[in-house]
Amino acid sequence: MDNQETNASFSRRLFSLQHVVDETPIIAETPRASIGSQEAIVRKQLTQKIVFGLFWLTGLLAVAVLIGVVGYLLVQGAQVISLDFLLTPPQGGLEGKGGISTTIITTLYLVILTIAIATPLGVGAAVYLVEYAGEMHGRRGLVPVLVSIARLGVETLAGVPSIIFGLFGYVLFVLYMRFGFSLLAASLSGACLILPVIIRTSEEALKSVPKSYREGSLALGTTQLQMIWTVVLPAALPGIITGIVLSVGRVFSETAVFYVTLGGSYRIPTSLLSGGRTMALHVYYLAMDTRAFDKAMGTAAILILIIIIINAIINYITHRVSVSLGR
């Protein structure tokens, strides 16, 4: 008898729900919402709208800040940006005369050199940590201890302020190894700065390669090295490149490290052992040592444009590479 009552009230509720479903099509897509009364459903929908609205607002805010900064720089910088500005070297002095041609070239040299040093080291370290040292966890002995120290080191280095890397590079490369203020000293110091980023992102990329790929390869009688080279690294490549892209941006915009390792000469470096001035450094010098604040803005705008363009190019290449790998 109890059952009958329940059944009756249940079908009543079902009927009232049917009415709601007919009226508001959204409910048909979210079956969970069909439990409870009509008011509860309306309330849930309202909550959803408010929360989505908040998400939307925060997203908008983040993008607005970015557009605001870039837009402000572009508008401020536009007054000084010209072909001439891009093609003439800086002339120094309190007025900050001249353009930025040599700093663009120095920046590109430094980025290429730093990435070329850090990528093989970082990817190699990540391969070691994931593929070879992965089983060390929880075991005793000297090697496992060293491996866990290395892991801790990588995690710590990722949070160290860049000026510390600069001072380290200054002491080790500039003074002790007698490289002086030079591209070599700066790119080695810069490589130390971005190594943790490359190691961490490469580690994550390697870890995300499914175990089934590794087993599939080894079961065919490949060595571990063949397996890593032909299956794991290609599958991890998009993730590894993401780390490199992040690092490229980091080197482009880094100032503190290069302030104490690259010197400030605005001539084009003629060898690995000659110093120079990156665009980011030039922005700093212009803003602090000259009255040409507008030129600092212009240089910053160009710097940001170059970063955007280079990221777009690398993303495009990554996309093409992963498409052709997945083919």
């Binding site: 390869s217 079961a219 290609p234």
Partner: protein, 258 residues
């Protein structure tokens, strides 16, 4: 147990431990060449661990320890180089695992790793392997498409072709059809029947109808009280299914547990 015909793989007093836990206990059995042997038993009784011993895939787990011998054509596999052993003993996994490469490159992968560089030779190997895996007609016009773009059943046959391409003597299959629909399963079973002409096949299966339909011999595994797995019964499939000599086999097959 005595068998006619030649023995491909003989397992003597084989035990396997994960750390302190014994997963397999004192297994003695011999598998005949050019036959299909199915391994059945309830979940967790060590079936997969057992066949992963034959190509030493368990070596990848550092806590694993083994006792006893597994003899492949007169040689103890634990005296062989595991890389060389795995070329001779192919494996097809539970979930199809083609590489994110083209169909051609998937099949050519093994031969390339073993030094085959000649494009003409590779093309021959790819075609013959895909034909043996009954996949050639479906993919011959799209060899440069990704292996991942195929259906689940096709992916599994691609993995079989990939294993065949290195010309193994023994093929291990770890529940090869468990992730597939009934029609794809049937395709795989038919394929296995054809493959036994040239290969010795050991197949782990959850599906007893599959074991009854598709195999010549059946090994029934079960857990002991300490949760280690051991072999309860081994014999011609028909006998194991119609007239098992162990009560536990009968109970399992008639569905009283498991």
């Amino acid at each position: 147990m005595s068998h006619n015909g030649n023995i491909k793989l003989q397992i003597d007093n084989y035990s396997l431990f994960y750390g302190d836990f014994q997963a397999l206990k004192d297994i003695n059995v011999a598998f005949e060449a050019n036959k299909i042997t199915s391994i059945i038993g309830p979940s967790g009784c060590g079936k997969s661990t057992f066949i992963r011993s034959f190509n030493r895939m368990n070596d990848l787990i550092s806590s694993v320890r083994v006792q006893g011998r597994i003899v492949l054509d007169g040689e103890n596999i634990f005296d062989l180089d595991p890389v060389d052993l795995r070329r001779r003993v192919g494996m097809v996994f539970q979930k199809p695992n083609p590489f994110p490469k083209s169909i051609f490159d998937n099949v050519a992968y093994g031969p390339r790793m073993h030094g085959v560089r000649d494009r003409g030779r590779l093309t021959e190997i790819v075609e013959s392997s895909l034909r043996s895996a009954a996949l050639w007609d479906e993919v011959k016009d799209k060899l440069d498409k990704s292996g991942l773009a195929l259906s689940g059943g096709q992916q599994q046959r691609l993995c079989i072709a990939r294993a065949l391409a290195v010309e193994p003597e023994l093929i291990l299959m770890d529940e090869p059809a468990s992730a597939l629909d009934p029609i794809a399963t049937l395709h795989i079973e038919e394929l296995i029947q054809i493959l036994k002409e040239h290969y010795t096949i050991v197949i782990v299966t959850h599906n007893m109808q599959q074991a009854a339909r598709a195999s010549d011999y059946t090994a029934f595994f079960m857990m002991n009280e300490d949760r280690s797995g051991s072999l309860v019964e081994y014999g011609p499939t028909e006998k194991v299914f119609t007239n098992p000599h162990d009560k536990r086999t009968e109970d399992y097959i008639t569905g009283r547990f498991g």
